[in-house]
Amino acid sequence: MNINLTLIGQLLSFAVFVWFTMKFVWTPIMGALETRKKEIADGLSAAERGQHEQELAKERAKDVLHEAKAQAAEIVAQAQKRAAEIVDDSKATARTEGERILSAAQAEIEQAANRAREQLREKIGRLVVAGAEKILRKEIGADVHQDIVTALAKEI
């Protein structure tokens, strides 16, 4: 238990150890700890930001979906309206067309009937004339009807 030079030796080695710790132990470890702390804080705040953004996006998605649904409903309504219109239109067109065809057919029928009637009339005329000719051939001669002939001749 003598106090001697060991005291100075211990004092010096203590000083060197403290210096060494400061330079090669404390600074790098605290540096690593600080960096990690900062990185964790950054990560946490990024996560929070991400969550916030996700919430916003969800909200936006809801809005968009809502809008899309409304739009779709509108489009369907419009399409139905348009379809009804088209159906109505085509019905109208079909009716007028039908009427047109009908009237054309009637006109044709009428024409054909007229034509047939003409032909019939002509044929009957001819038959009548032929029959009359046959009947007349027996009774008529120039001598029998001299008076009529002379009367006619006079009129000329």
Partner: protein
């Protein structure tokens, strides 16, 4: 047990003698062969065992910690790095808790003190005869393995701390401020003559409290470790006193060693905390 031919008194004395290198009475330099011879060497001698073990432990600490610090990643730390970071953060929070000024020296200083003293104290848990017996085989007759049971080691650190306290006191408060702190309080008066009379009284009071800082630091650690070591030595004596007492000694040694784990940690922690507090006081006017 080294007690084949030694009495108990000699055994204890042998255990408490450092391996001292110094100047013999006849003028030659060499290792002291007895406690009396070591004492005669006076101040110009050095305790080789204290120096060896404290430097070895310090180097071990620095090697281990600086190696970890060098490879410290900011990613997920592994086992060793985790352990080192745990200690570093413990020291850091202690320093933050007790030290309010800004000084980058204090935290590394506290870390060095804590770990180094802890390791020195830890040597106390090695059974008292193991290392001395081994060194005896190597031809070394004295071997005191716990550096903190050598007052040179504890005073070395305490004086180091004290020099820092003085340095920062003067640096922060100036020579005038520091001298004023020593002489103008706790007693002061508006009357300048009375104030002048108070100066020596104040100085005596303040000087004692200032000088008490390193002395109490050093003696607290030394006293605790020395007493602990002494109890281990006394228990070791029981091994020579028959089977029953020997077994009883074994139980006692185990118990005391377990209790001692608390003491060695506590002493390292107290030394560190008081150092931080003293340096904090040096940074503040009061």
């Amino acid at each position: 047990m080294s007690g084949e031919t030694l009495t108990s008194g000699e055994y204890i004395k042998h255990h408490l003698t450092n391996l001292t290198f110094g100047k013999h009475a006849d003028g030659g330099w060499g290792i002291a062969h007895s406690a009396a011879e070591a004492k005669e060497m006076g101040f110009w001698a050095i305790h080789l065992d204290t120096m060896f073990w404290s430097l070895l432990l310090g180097a071990l600490f620095l090697y281990f910690f600086s190696k970890t610090a060098k490879s410290a990643t900011r990613g997920i730390p592994g086992g060793v790095q985790n352990f080192v970071e745990w200690i570093v953060e413990f020291i850091d929070s202690s320093v933050r808790g007790s030290f309010s000024a800004r000084n980058t020296l204090v935290a590394p200083l506290a870390l060095t003190i804590f770990v180094w003293i802890f390791l020195q104290n830890l040597m106390d848990l090695v059974p008292v005869d193991v290392i001395p017996e081994i060194s005896k085989l190597l031809g070394i007759h004295f071997m005191k393995v716990v550096p903190s049971t050598d007052p040179n080691a504890t005073f070395g650190m305490a004086i180091g701390v004290f020099l820092l306290v003085l340095f920062y006191s003067i640096k922060i408060k100036g020579v005038g401020g520091f001298v004023g702190e020593l002489t103008l309080q706790p007693f002061s008066s508006k009357n300048p003559v009375v104030n002048l009379l108070f100066i020596p009284i104040n100085f005596i009071l303040e000087f004692v409290s200032l000088a008490a800082k390193p002395i109490s630091l050093a003696l607290r650690l030394f006293g605790n470790m020395y007493a602990g070591e002494m109890i281990f030595i006394l228990i070791a004596i029981m091994y020579n006193a028959g089977l029953i007492l020997g077994l009883f000694g074994g139980v006692l040694q185990l118990g005391w060693a377990i209790f001692h784990i608390l003491i060695i940690t506590l002493q390292a922690f107290i030394f560190m905390t008081l150092t931080i507090v003293y340096l904090d006081m040096a940074h503040h006017e009061h």
